[in-house]
């Protein structure tokens, strides 16, 4: 997964970095970096979600994912997203409170 990410990052950067005459457009670079950051965060989320849901839903690994395992994973994904959003909101509130107290 790491190598996949770094190759995406490398190719996107080199393809868009130079404009006509090789001049670097900071606006374009900033947009591309934002995209790469979003991609990195999505991958991070997926990696941790997969880890957690595998632990919760898969007991002794069988020859395939049975129906109950698949249902569990689907629910787990949604709950993980709910949790992530709850944590994000709570952390944001805490930061705002800290800033207000400074």
């Amino acid at each position: 997964m790491e190598s996949g990410f770094s190759s995406d990052f490398g190719s996107d950067f080199s393809s868009g970095g130079g404009g006509a005459g090789g001049k670097l457009d900071p606006g374009l670079i900033m947009e591309q970096v934002k995209v790469q950051i979003a991609v990195a965060n999505a991958q991070e989320l997926l990696q941790r979600m997969t880890d957690k849901c595998f632990r919760k839903c898969i007991g002794k690994p069988g020859g395939s994912l049975d129906n109950s395992e698949q249902k569990c994973i689907a629910m787990c994904m949604d709950r993980y997203m709910d949790s992530w959003n709850t944590v994000s909101r709570a952390y944001n509130s805490r930061l705002q409170r800290e800033r207000a107290n400074m």
């Binding site: 934002k34 950051i37 919760k56 709950r79 993980y80 949790s83 944590v87 709570a90």
Partner: protein, 111 residues
Amino acid sequence: RAAAREGRGVAVTAVTGMDTSSAAGLGGADPQLQRFIEVETQKQRFQQLVHQMTELCWEKCMDKPGPKLDSRAETCFVNCVERFIDTSQFILNRLEQTQKSKSAFSESLSD
């Protein structure tokens, strides 16, 4: 686990290029870019902590994933975030105190 952590560090570094303190070096060429790097670095720190706390609090607050996040679990997550930040602050404060006092840090570790 170690590989995942390293991957994250690489991802953040690769994307932001550096931390805020060394952003000034690059920003010298373009203040707009420097500002952008500072903002994105800050945002990324936030994101990383959300990832980390979600993972930690999931272990503490989630038993069996159900059809929705019940209010007990939701409260647990909120408390978990608050207590994690409290823990972090406590550690920093106490570290500062033990380093200020005349005994060496390693001495107070053996308390």
